[in-house]
């Protein structure tokens, strides 16, 4: 994968080099339309299908800095908004990532928003409608978003999150964009480009993954992702034996079930026979 050049301006990431993204449908068009009206966007899709990469690509295209927050169970609203700190004898207010993005006009990306506590989702509500305000209770102010600010959340409807679904009232504030694994041709191009693998092996990798994805109901929480394919391709391009690369990058991370492992191995072995 190519190193992406970025600049740190005021703690915000600005991408200089185009992150590779292969459009699958009209997702770029939809996003641009949402951007032109500053509507918040929700990216839905399974793990490793390119949600984050898409957003990096769009940030580069729009020449906006990107602020990414990986949400977790203990993420509180002050983690997002900001807090007072002591410096010497003084107390200093420090903006949280969300506030920073709102002030500077960045794209704020809340990754896996369902993982965060429900109170955090409430504070983003006023940012998502026509008001575009962020109330900061501790400062007693409400700041209006910079015209370049945009809110994007991601959301992976996997079975781990049955109990942690987003509230309908939250969901409906967003423009939803569904991501899934790309078609074989597109995915091959992605693997070639990202992993630096020759087209023949990349194609075999993608076709094999297509077969492996048929096993989605058989105890696999997540099926083989494009990211896993890129990893496997990278390992191959680095000189590792193909089957070993698939085992290491695709099969082992995916399942502990011995029979599933064997079945997946057999599928990849068909495309990458062991060298005698």
């Amino acid at each position: 994968m190519s190193e992406m050049k970025m600049a740190e301006s005021n703690g915000l990431r600005l991408l200089f080099e185009e992150p590779f993204y292969q459009p699958v449908a009209n997702e770029v068009g939809v996003f641009m339309a949402a951007w032109s009206r500053r509507l918040p966007v929700m990216l839905k899709g399974p793990t490793g299908c390119g949600k984050t990469r898409f957003l990096e690509h769009m940030a580069w295209r729009l020449k906006r800095p990107l602020v990414t927050v990986a949400c977790h169970e203990d993420l509180t609203s002050s983690d997002l908004v900001g807090r007072f700190l002591i410096e010497g004898d003084e107390t200093v207010w420090q903006d949280g990532p969300l506030t920073k993005a709102v002030r500077e006009g960045a794209i704020c990306y809340l990754d896996e928003i369902v993982e965060a506590r429900t109170d955090t989702t409430v504070i983003i509500h006023p940012l998502t409608d026509h008001r575009r305000h962020l109330p900061i209770e501790k400062l007693g102010v409400e700041i209006t978003a910079h015209p370049g600010f945009m809110l994007v959340i991601s959301y992976n409807p996997g079975y781990q999150t049955v109990l942690k679904d987003l509230k309908p009232s939250t969901k409906q504030r967003f423009v939803g964009m569904n991501f899934s694994y790309p078609s074989a041709d597109v995915e091959t191009r992605i693997v070639v480009k990202e992993a630096g693998l020759d087209e023949k092996r990349a194609q075999a990798l993608v076709v094999a993954a297509g077969k492996a994805r048929n096993l989605k109901d058989q105890g696999l929480q997540e099926v083989t992702s494009t990211r896993a394919l890129i990893y496997a391709g990278s390992l191959m391009a680095a000189g590792l034996d193909a089957l070993e690369a698939c085992t290491a990058a695709i099969i082992h991370p995916q399942t502990d079930d011995p029979e599933l492992t064997e079945a997946l191995l057999e599928i990849f072995r068909t495309f990458f026979p062991e060298q005698p």
């Binding site: 109990l163 077969k211 109901d217 079945a263």
Partner: protein, 831 residues
């Protein structure tokens, strides 16, 4: 011709016209051996004919072949006299005369002498055994092991004389056993068989016929080779990955002709043989047979066209709605097997080529496996080698035009049939007998028309791609309809209500309050309003609810079995302890500090800093600066709703294990695990019989303790009636809404799609209703999640429960350990 020969001929003719004619016809073959020889020959013939007419006829008919094979009369003429020593030997004699020539040619003087001696020895002991012996096709009898092999095969049989077991019964089994596990295996198998026979006649015979489980079990122990039976899930997964199909895998025949195990299909299920030579051949067999299913070898339209091709009406389906192939081949008469083999060559070429497009390298694998095996001798060898040549030519693009057409995507089974007809008309392939047929197939291949088939529906897509069956509405797979629950057993004693349809015409439909018809006097333990809690039901055909349509009753379960509960607890002690240990190991995180409390054991540093900072800034912050270590109050409550319909009494997966057996264990472990976690939980079972008798069986309510009573109820769980899931979900949702938790989970455990007696066979009706019930539950803040044991669950669960809200566990054995784990993962607590 000498006077002596003329005398004998006249004598024979005087006794029987046939004898005279046959003898005279046979005589030229022996004429060249001299007059004395001819007399000797005719005398033996006459003796045999007088002794037994059929034996004599067999003698004269086979003469030409025998003289040619032996180069004279010795020793077969002398050997033939053995059939004069006992009455009733004619069947043995006919077998001898028919086959002796072939034995002499195939195994030489010595082989023939042994073959004869071994059989002759039985004439004194048991004539029928001798007959069975001489009638076994010698190619099968000798097998690959030659003369010594034959001796070794027959050696153990002597021990059976005392047990009065016929040689025929022995040979039938022994030949299969030899093919499967060699001569050493035969010796051991016989030795144990003698003991079994001593213990009981019927049991012993079943052993030698390989019909009993103990014989199969024994063979599985000693048999070399690969046992696909224990890897069924692995093969099932591969089939699903490659074809998108999930055909049931059933036990196939123990061994086919000549002892070779074939994977077969009836268009719906795959029949898995007990033993295959190795893993590679098993894999190839699954791929190849799966490809037959995926590429429409058994598609109903194609089969109809096949019959049209020979100008025949499609024959009527048999009682089980299957098509039999016989009429298709009938016109080939005795040469049927040759045509079938040619047809299989063409059809296999088509299917293999199609598979190669999906699975590059498949043809090379088949070829590699084929080369590793020595091609069979005799006629079968021609087919075997031809099949290999076809694959080689196919890979090199050298096939003749008509065969090459079969390797293109649009080719169908009808094209293969036409190619086979053309080929058959000009074929140089030799005729082949049934006993040789099995050897003619390449590894992984087998007779395609071995079983009557359930015709399959066509795939929707024009471009054949194996897993295109996945697209909704275009499923290539057959629905195996869930069997209607039995009325006989397990019926709820409280109900006996006549059937009713849901078509909304007549009956009690729409006439106000439905009242359960004949529930009289036996409402012990019945709760709720009279006639049950009314619930609406969604009718997708009219796109509206039928108000107060389903009636839910809560009744206690009567069966309980504390002893079984204890047995289970003992048997699963290890699993349970592992589970509890895992939960306890998680306790520190469960006891995780609660931040920002007003009181607690230790200061919450971050909060303290914040507090000080805000004080300095002149604000008056709240003093929530402590951290507490306390079990985190997760506030999750769960209701486990188990499908208790009749189908759980069925065996599933590995033989002998019923769904209910694992269900009991799973629910017990679930209860124990939940007790450890401390979440509020309830256990309910449900079953139904018609829309107004949906019964929920509370096993443990939220307020109940998980105690000996509950365990005994779980130990005694059994199946009854049908599965009206929607009403059960609506009632459970209401029960859950009374529970203490804030996050509410309804965990449904089922083994099949929703169905009831009165759903009119419309699979979709109750599915759609269930989908609505799940949606209603969601609106009320109850999350429904379904754990299904139905391997075909993937077909309807996404629609009913929504993607990500179900899990298919096709591997029944994993249920007990997985169920608690699934729950814990759902509530966000990894084990």
């Amino acid at each position: 011709m000498s006077a002596a020969t003329e005398d004998i001929l006249e004598h024979l003719a005087a006794i029987s016209f046939v004898a005279g004619r046959d003898a005279r016809a046979a005589l030229p073959a022996v004429a060249s051996l001299g007059a004395a020889a001819a007399v000797r020959y005719l005398e033996t013939g006459r003796d045999l004919f007088f002794y037994d007419r059929e034996a004599g006829k067999g003698f004269f008919h086979a003469t030409a072949d025998l003289v040619k094979a032996f180069g004279g009369l010795d020793p077969w003429l002398e050997q033939a006299r053995v059939f004069l020593t006992q009455r009733g030997t004619f069947r043995a004699a006919v077998g001898f005369f028919e086959q002796a020539g072939a034995v002499r040619r195939g195994w030489g003087v010595e082989g023939e002498a042994l073959w004869f001696a071994l059989g002759a020895a039985w004439i004194d002991r048991h004539v029928d055994s001798a007959a069975s012996y001489f009638r076994v096709p010698t190619a099968v009898l000798f097998g690959d092991a030659g003369i010594e092999g034959l001796r070794a095969l027959l050696a153990p049989a002597d021990a059976l004389v005392r047990s009065r077991l016929g040689l025929g019964t022995y040979l039938e089994g022994a030949i299969k056993v030899r093919a499967i596990c060699g001569l050493d295996g035969v010796a051991e198998w016989t030795q144990r068989g003698v003991d079994v026979l001593a213990a009981g006649r019927a049991r012993g015979e079943a052993w030698f016929r390989l019909e009993s489980d103990e014989a199969r079990g024994f063979l599985l122990e000693v048999v070399p080779g690969f046992h696909p039976g224990i890897h069924k899930r692995f093969f099932g997964l591969l089939l699903q990955a490659w074809t998108g199909l999930q055909p049931p895998l059933e036990e196939g025949d123990w061994s086919q002709e000549g002892g070779r195990g074939f994977l077969e299909t009836d268009g719906r299920s795959l029949f898995v043989p007990a033993v295959m030579p190795d893993r590679e051949e098993a894999l190839l067999a699954f791929y190849h047979t799966g490809a037959h299913l995926a590429f429409d070898s058994y598609e109903q339209g194609a089969i109809r066209l096949l019959f049209a091709e020979i100008g025949m009406e499609h024959p009527p389906l048999d009682a089980e709605q299957r098509i039999t192939w016989r009429p298709l081949f009938a016109r080939f008469g005795e040469d049927l097997i040759r045509f079938q083999l040619i047809f299989d060559l063409c059809e296999d070429l088509r299917v293999d080529a199609a598979l190669e497009r999906e699975m590059p390298g498949y043809l090379a694998r088949v070829l590699r496996a084929s080369r590793q095996r020595t091609p069979p001798e005799g006629a079968a060898g021609y087919y075997y080698r031809r099949a290999m040549t076809m694959l080689e030519d196919g890979m090199a693009g050298r096939l003749p035009e008509d065969l090459a057409a079969l390797t293109t995507a649009p080719a169908g089974i009808v094209d293969a049939f036409r190619a086979a007809l053309t080929w058959y008309a000009t074929t140089d392939l030799p005729p082949v007998s049934l006993s040789e047929r099995a050897r003619a197939y390449l590894p992984g291949h087998s007779p395609n028309a071995a079983r009557p088939v359930y015709p399959r529906r066509k795939r929707a897509s024009d471009t054949p791609e194996m897993d295109s069956g996945d697209a909704p509405g275009s499923t290539g797979r057959e629905e195996k309809l869930r069997e209607a629950p039995q009325r006989a057993e397990g019926n709820d004693p409280d109900t006996d209500i006549p059937p009713e349809n849901i078509q909304g015409a007549g009956g009690r439909v729409g006439v106000g309050m439905p009242v359960a018809a004949k529930v009289t006097g036996r409402r012990r333990g019945v709760e709720g309003p009279p006639g049950g809690w009314p619930y609406r039901e969604w009718d997708y055909r009219h796109q509206r609810y039928k108000e107060n349509w389903a009636r839910v009753h809560e009744r206690p379960l009567r069966e309980h079995d504390a002893a079984r509960a204890t047995t289970i607890a003992v048997a699963y002690d290890g699993t349970l302890r592992r589970l509890k240990r895992a939960l306890q190991a998680q306790k520190p995180t469960r006891m995780s500090p609660r931040r920002r409390q007003y009181e607690g054991e230790a200061p919450d540093l971050e909060a303290v800093v914040q507090f000080v900072v805000e004080r300095r800034a002149g604000r008056s912050p709240k003093a929530d600066i402590y951290r507490q270590r306390r079990p985190q109050h997760r506030d999750t409550s769960v209701l486990l709703l188990a499908d208790l319909s009749t189908s759980i009494m069925a065996e599933a997966g590995d033989s002998g294990v019923r769904v209910v057996d694992r269900l009991r264990v799973a629910m017990l472990l679930f209860g124990e695990a939940l007790g450890e976690v401390g979440d509020a939980f309830a256990l309910y079972g449900f079953a139904s019989k018609y829309h107004d008798e949906v019964v929920l069986y509370p096993i443990k309510r939220f307020a109940d303790k998980f105690d000996a009573r509950v365990r005994a109820l779980l130990g005694g769980l059994s199946g009854r009636l049908a599965t009206r899931m929607g009403a059960a979900i609506r009632h459970s949702t209401w029960r859950l809404s009374e529970s203490p938790g804030q996050r509410r989970l309804l965990l449904i455990l089922s083994d099949g799609r929703p169905a009831d007696y009165d759903d009119g066979g419309d699979v979709r009706y109750l599915q759609e209703d269930t989908r609505m019930a799940v949606k209603e539950a969601q609106d009320l803040g109850v999350h429904a999640f379904c754990v299904s044991l139905d391997p075909r669950g993937g077909e309807y669960l996404p629609r009913v429960f929504g993607p990500g809200h179900y899990l298919v566990l096709p591997h029944l054995d994993s249920l007990p350990a997985r169920l608690p784990e699934i729950y814990l993962r759902l509530r966000g607590h990894s084990v």
